[in-house]
């Protein structure tokens, strides 16, 4: 990614890829779960189908992932949370192994033992966790390592606005600021922590205002826009890379699906998602690209087709990969 146009195009393509991925997953996830095994009262069986277990999709939140990761290198670390696909894709985690992991296949990133909230790709320095708020301290550790190794690597901690009320948020921000660690904290404010609205969980309107409590810059990106994120993140990441310390960014973004697949979303005002989707950030960036002559219908169709194939291939790879042998369950508690 040399020029800005390259990056813009990369952001667009990656957003399309994330969206395609999430929409594909939303469909595949339902396979085998509906109609469920005959059992009284059962409407949906979370443990069934090719992708069992919880599933948190990030459609709508693509700008956060691409706007930040457009600035990153392989050696930079990203720590995500329970809703990790957009970050993983933007960080370059290979789709095949990532998808296979979510199918529980031996070809997966973690040989099937991690699952969708536990994607580890050391080659692309990506990790995540199902525990809300757990990632920020770990990102501090990656940043500390960079500093100790004399590298100009940065670390990104992504988390939700709900996570920003966890004690770990506070501890990590204080540590990062105190030790001037090359870490950027990126809070995705998608308005909800499961069913709880931000106003019912957070004493102030923007987490960016919490940065002052650590003597670090706080930046609010108040629209779900890849370019806006790109700019804010660029400044912060450069700052971190120069050794000038951490930044806290909050981005207002939108969650198009339920908290997890199967979420009845009764807490959500009717029509909210429809309204949000009218401000879809992907066509918005597409329009910018078109204005700049970087995109037209033909190129768009072409890249979408390529992405569809790539995503399809990943799901095929996952589907056709074998499950691990049960002996695998007893391996890797410890490295040998």
């Amino acid at each position: 990614m040399e020029t800005t146009s390259d990056r813009l195009l990369w952001m667009y393509r990656t957003m399309v890829e994330i969206r395609e991925y999430e929409e594909t997953m939303a469909k595949v996830y339902l396979e085998g779960k509906l109609p469920p095994k005959i059992q009284k009262g059962l409407a949906f069986d979370i443990g069934a189908g090719p992708v069992p277990g919880e599933m948190h999709l990030a459609a709508g939140q693509e700008p956060v992932a691409v706007g930040v990761c457009a600035h990153l290198r392989d050696e930079d670390s990203v720590v995500g949370a329970h809703r990790p696909h957009h970050f993983a894709i933007a960080k370059g985690v290979p789709l095949n192994e990532m998808t296979a992991e979510m199918f529980g296949k031996v070809t997966g990133l973690g040989r099937g033992k991690g699952g969708h909230m536990h994607l580890f790709d050391p080659a692309h320095k990506f990790s995540c966790s199902g525990i809300v708020g757990a990632g920020a301290p770990q990102a501090c550790g990656a940043a500390l390592a960079a500093k100790k190794l004399g590298k100009d690597w940065v670390a990104i901690a992504f988390f939700g606005e709900g996570a920003a009320n966890q004690g770990s948020f506070h501890e990590a921000l204080n540590l990062a600021a105190l030790w001037k660690l090359p870490v950027v904290f990126v809070c995705e404010d998608n308005k909800y922590g499961i069913s709880v609205e931000k106003g019912d969980s957070t004493a102030i309107a923007s987490n960016a205002d919490r940065a002052a409590g650590y003597g670090m810059p706080g930046v609010l990106v108040d629209k779900n826009d890849a370019l806006a994120v790109f700019e804010a993140a660029g400044v912060s990441i450069d700052r971190a890379r120069r050794g000038e310390g951490p930044t806290l960014i909050e981005v207002k973004t939108d969650r198009y699906y339920g908290h997890f697949q199967g979420d009845p979303e009764t807490y959500r005002p009717k029509g909210e998602v429809k309204a949000l989707r009218e401000h879809d950030p992907i066509p918005a960036l597409g329009a910018v690209l078109r204005e700049q002559g970087l995109l037209d219908d033909a190129r768009d169709a072409e890249l979408r087709e390529a992405i569809r194939s790539k995503v399809q291939a990943a799901f095929d790879f996952a589907r056709h990969s074998p499950y691990p042998d049960v002996a695998e369950a007893h391996r890797h508690v410890f490295v040998d």
């Binding site: 095994k37 069986d45 979370i46 525990i131 770990s168 069913s195 709880v196 369950a329 007893h330």
Partner: protein, 345 residues
């Protein structure tokens, strides 16, 4: 319970929320705090319908701040209120365990009995539906290991209601663990034996009384929570082969009904502990040790056996997960192996 009582079949989730609702009506001091306990009705439906009935002052959604609201439960309980704090998944206890085990569980003791903390920590446990290593644990033994908390682990709706009412009325901290796979949720396959007849009116089941689910003569299966339902299915299979298993549902592990366990093992001469928690340094060891401490009065016919999650995190992949969590056929196999391993004289 007299036979005149009106009963209905309820899921365990319904039984729990009914119990909480009845106690909230009886006692104004009872209230609920937790993540998504309000409008959502609890991720595992333990508080369904309560927000609508009691409003947001008594069914309080919290920020994702387990330390803050567990601490708040302590402070409120010390003032005479009776909080129920839901820890959505027991797996999350690591972010707030200090408040629970160093304070909620110890303050009464350190105060020489001068304060009481009538708080219930209610939490979802267990795996089997592929929620992986951070959302599938049982961990009840980690609470039971620490002094100062009662630990309740129901296996069915009837017990769940009576034990929840007892938990709320108890003047001490109670950790109430419901297994997700027996709540009777509409989105998770469950063991149907857990959905059973529940009286409409409030009733309390005393703590420390195990239930003999099924009498038998060849082996005692000591178990709890969802595993009770698996043990029942295993016993059915064993019975077909002429093996008679006695099943003991512990129901509470603090207090632990040692008498019922010892009497049963004395009778059958064989102990199998079937547990979904981690194998080592935990519940199954405690039950085995209990018997080992009484070998002057108990004559074993076979070595003790333990079935539990053997020193691995819960793997995500479905075949691996089903392999590491003890299943019905594993119980059957363990009993048969036990019968084939006599203690030599």
């Amino acid at each position: 319970m007299t036979t005149q009582q009106k009963t209905r079949t309820l899921t365990m989730a319904q039984a729990i929320s009914e119990a909480i609702g009845q106690e909230m009506e009886r006692d104004e001091r009872v209230f609920v705090m937790g993540e998504d306990v309000g409008k959502y009705g609890g991720i595992f439906s333990a508080t369904t319908g309560l927000y609508e009935r009691f409003g947001k002052e008594r069914i309080m959604d919290t920020p994702i701040s387990e330390t803050a609201f567990m601490g708040a439960a302590i402070g409120a309980a010390a003032e005479g209120l009776r909080p129920i704090a839901e820890l959505m998944f027991v797996d999350f206890f690591g972010v707030c365990f200090d408040q629970i085990y160093n304070h909620l569980a110890k303050n009464t003791y350190m105060a020489g009995g001068n304060i009481k903390l009538p708080a219930v920590v209610m939490t979802g446990i267990g795996g089997g539906y592929n929620d992986a290593a951070q959302h599938s644990q049982c961990l009840y033994a980690s609470f039971a290991h620490m002094p100062g908390m009662k630990v309740v682990v129901p296996s069915n709706a009837y017990d769940a209601k009576g034990l929840m009412i007892q938990a709320i009325r108890d003047d001490n901290p109670v950790v109430y663990c419901y297994h997700k796979g027996i709540m009777g949720l509409s989105w998770m396959s469950y063991f149907e034996g857990s959905t059973n007849e529940v009286p409409e009116e409030a009733y309390a089941i005393p703590f420390g009384k195990a239930r003999v689910v099924r009498e038998g003569s060849d082996v005692t299966i000591v178990t709890l929570s969802q595993m009770v339902q698996k043990a029942v299915l295993a016993a059915d299979t064993l019975a077909e082969e002429g093996i008679s298993a006695e099943i003991i549902d512990l129901r509470t592990i603090v207090p632990l009904d040692t008498e019922t366990v010892l009497a049963s093992v004395a009778k059958t001469g064989r102990l199998l502990v079937a547990d979904e928690d981690y194998l080592h340094f935990g519940l199954s060891g405690e039950i085995a040790a209990l018997v080992a401490e009484h070998l002057d009065t108990i004559r074993l016919k076979a070595p003790v056996r333990r079935l539990a999650v053997d020193a691995v995190p819960i793997p995500f992949s479905r075949p691996l997960e089903q392999h590491v969590i003890p299943q019905v056929d594993g119980i059957v196999a363990a009993v048969k192996a036990q019968l084939a391993t006599p203690i030599g004289l």
